[in-house]
Each structure stands twice: as structure tokens, then as C-alpha cells.
Amino acid sequence: MNVPLNNPKAIAEAGERIYKEKFQAAFEAAHLGDYAAINVGKETAFVGTTPEGAFELARKDDPQGIFHLVRVGYAGAFQLSYQYGRDGTQDWLFG
């Protein structure tokens, strides 16, 4: 698949889509509350009990990979009470 790798928002959207289509059902049955690092290029996923653990496994498999982190069973990997970043302006980073 073609993911624009110079656009963090597009990487995040691709990671979420891959997770929902290929991994969500199985992971929620077996790994609720754990973290999954999704390789958006290879469409593979690695689960760890910590975010760092999931990334470590994913990077071992593909050191050049582009990864998106999800928390199994949660809408976001982290929660934030402040309203920073609502404008979704991350496109400007490299675009």
C-alpha cells in the first residue's frame, strides 16, 4: 500500500486502518490493555505489555520500519486532559 511517509497524520491513519482490519479482533481477545506497534509498510504488528516493549520487538523485525502505536481496547494509546493539538495541524511538519 502507498502511505505518504512524510506525513505523520497519514501514517497514524494508515496504522489505525491496518490495526482495525487485520489485528483488532484477535488482539482484543488476547491482549486487552497491551500495546501494539503496527508496521505501516509491511502491515505487521508486535504486541508488548509496555509501549517501549512493543516498539522494541517491531524495530528488531524491521529496523527501517515506520510504526504506529495503539493500545489494545482503547481509542487512543494515551489520554490527555488538556485540549492541545485539537487543530490537527501536523501535516505542516514535512508537507
Binding site: A12, F67, G76, F78, Y82, Y84, G85, L93
Partner: protein
């Protein structure tokens, strides 16, 4: 360890002084970070302030905001020094340059600290070990069952 100290800003939000870096402490810079107990992560920094720190970029993630909306963020790895104690974790990079640095619950967990807030004081104290004897027992609850010999 001696208690770590912070301060309350004019709005009453607790802040601490931290140093942050990525690949090497040679790249470290000092920040005044707000302690946000509604933030489940380790540290969030504005991207423009994070660029000089040589953080290791890991990928992306989605943050769930208080109103239920989602916010994509870049994720990097780095370290925090707070008054001589160093912890490492994932740092979210925020595009909005107007936001200030935030430390969250994962920072407190990794530091093994209790957050103590008073009218004019912010303290981070060493987390005491909790033993079974420390857990309060509900007097209404029946006593635990005796083991049954199956023979």
C-alpha cells in the same frame, strides 16, 4: 532520597523543572513542565522545543483528548532528569508551539513517586512499598475461607 520539589503557577497548576535529552545528555535542555494527572503518558513537548534534543523518533500514535476526539502525534524516545533522578520513556511531540511541556502519570510511575499538593507546595516523595498488612480490611466482609483438604 530527598523529596523533589516543584511549584504552583499563578493558575494553581503544579510544575517541576526537568532536563530532557535524546541520544546524549550533551543535548539536554531545561524545561518547566506542568504535572498533568489527566495525561496518561510520560512527557509531551512542543515539536519546536524538542528538535534540539536529539530524540530518537519511533513513530506515531493517537492521543484521546478529554472531549473524546483523537489527536495524532509523533512519538520519540528520550530521558528526563528531575533533580538528579533519570527516567526514560516515550515523548509525544506536539505541533502546537503554544502548548507547554507536560509530564504525566507514566512519569510518576517510572519515577516511583507520590505527588503531594498543598496550597503553596508541590512535592514528589518516594513511593513507600505497600504490603498486604497495609491494605485496609472491610469489617463487613466475611473472613477468607479456610483451605479445604480434598482427600
Amino acid at each position: 532520597m530527598a523529596p523533589k520539589t516543584g511549584y504552583l503557577d499563578k493558575a494553581g497548576h503544579p510544575h517541576i523543572k526537568i532536563r530532557v535529552w535524546g541520544l546524549s545528555p550533551n543535548f539536554s535542555q531545561e524545561f518547566e513542565a506542568m504535572i498533568d494527572t489527566g495525561f496518561s503518558g510520560f512527557l509531551m513537548l512542543p515539536l519546536v522545543q524538542a528538535l534540539p534534543l536529539a530524540l530518537t523518533l519511533f513513530g506515531t500514535t493517537q492521543y484521546e483528548l478529554a472531549d473524546g476526539s483523537m489527536s495524532p502525534k509523533l512519538l520519540a524516545h528520550g530521558s528526563i532528569d528531575h533533580e538528579g533522578e533519570v527516567t526514560s520513556g516515550l515523548i509525544a511531540l506536539e505541533a502546537n508551539a503554544n502548548c507547554g511541556p507536560l509530564v504525566g502519570m507514566e512519569f510518576l510511575r517510572q519515577s516511583k513517586k507520590l505527588l503531594l499538593l498543598g496550597r503553596n507546595v508541590v512535592m514528589l516523595l518516594d513511593e513507600p512499598p505497600v504490603t498486604a498488612e497495609d491494605v485496609p480490611i472491610d469489617p463487613q466482609e466475611p473472613p477468607p475461607a479456610e483451605p479445604v483438604d480434598s482427600k
